[in-house]
Symmetry: C2
Subunit: 228 residues, 2 copies
DNA sequence: CGGAATCCTCTTCGATACTG
DNA sequence: CAGTATCGAAGAGGATTCCG
């Protein structure tokens, strides 16, 4: 029962008492892109085991990080959703993403990959100069996954599910998407090869590949906290 | 043996593969205030156990987060020191601190407390308006601990050990220090009560209590990442 | 004495099977 | 579909011992 704590009167240790256990922060990552059902979470956290997920969700609900709610009709399914306190964790996750991209390298064989993860990493590493003046929504269909990204003046907000009125809709498969975001493949080439289909403003395609083309626009860009 | 990984091609998951195990980020926290010996780390991480600390240090050295070096004479002792890649983790720790202060509350009985932790939390929660125009160094002697804080135009940098040319030297005990930073006690009252001794510019004392007085100047201040 | 390997007990994790 | 129950395997915590 008794949650294990560090027993330190320290802000970071207290945060880690809540968030430091295995899988916990990845659950938050999943919920950053919108509410999810138990099943969806299992999908996004391969290897977690149902008992552990259930336990973590219960803990996190107790800590006020997420809430168990029922989606409005017609869906009506039970979902887990971040509270405001949970969404406050976004900067932490983005910081981890910024640190993690540098040692991402090539995908290992057998490694799981979900397209949204890439978009979340983009968001983290995007400098304020990228996508400036742009205010558009892109909808992605990557294999079975459907998600969209709202870009608004230098900030991108990835979210699960279809968009309301997307300016551009892109359809591709997981491998092609990975090649695109890692810069190994150009969008125009992918279209010619029949690996990518696009609907919407053709000029928007230029912008979207500009924003999401190279995986990291500017490595070691400002941390914003003046690390020595 | 085999380090446990999430097996996900995701920047955050990769970061957590390296940092997500118990104690790891707290080791980084300790090293953010300067190089430390094995013994010093044990002191700052009550409950860790020598075997685990040794294992973590080896892992982190392998990951390029820290380096085992020998201090220049006359010290000549072996110390652990963050690499640049390790110092890049500061924003992550600061983010955790900002999130953690909100649920810090009153110190639990039996909970460990090291004065530097408080100063690190201050740094994390300090808004850019605080300590603007200030460029001073304060040296703290709290019980056995000696550390200093360099304040430079809105940014504070806590570090272990004495300062080179401190503008102010403060001497007190752990409990009094905790009362001071939590705002339960005013510096002037502490001096009158003989609990705090100060050497240096008297005007600097006003500034230092202004900067480090209330534990959190402005809660929920900007996260700098535009969390929804 | 600082630094680290060894042993042992206990908790947590991971996978599967099972139930409302 | 959403979770609980179970059990072997891995990891953590604490003390002790070893190396320099």
């Amino acid at each position: 029962m008794s949650r294990r704590t560090y027993g330190q009167y320290c802000a970071m240790a207290r945060a880690l008492d809540v968030l430091g256990e295995r899988w916990t922060l990845l659950i938050v990552r999943e919920l950053l892109t919108g509410p999810k059902r138990f099943k969806d979470l299992l999908e996004g956290l391969p290897g977690i085991g149902t008992n552990l997920l259930a336990a973590r969700l219960k803990d996190l609900e107790g800590e006020g990080v997420l809430r168990r709610t029922t989606l409005p009709p017609p869906a009506g399914s039970a979902v887990y959703q971040l509270t405001e306190r949970g969404r406050d964790l976004e900067p932490v996750l983005m910081g981890l993403a910024r640190w993690g991209v540098d040692q991402l390298g090539e995908p290992h064989t057998g490694e799981a990959f979900r397209p949204v993860w890439a978009v979340q990493a983009m968001k983290a590493t995007m400098g304020p100069e990228a996508a400036r003046w742009v205010r558009e929504t892109y909808e992605f269909h990557v294999g079975e996954d459907v998600f969209h990204v709202r870009v608004d003046d230098g900030v991108s907000e990835p979210e699960y599910g279809p968009a309301f009125e997307p300016d551009l809709v892109l359809r591709t498969d997981g491998d092609t998407f990975l090649s695109l975001v890692s810069g190994r493949l150009e969008a125009t080439d992918a279209i010619e090869a029949g690996k990518l289909r696009v609907e919407g403003d053709p000029e928007a395609l230029a912008r979207v590949s500009d924003i999401f083309g190279p995986p990291v626009g500017a490595r070691r860009s400002g941390t914003g906290l003046g690390a020595s």
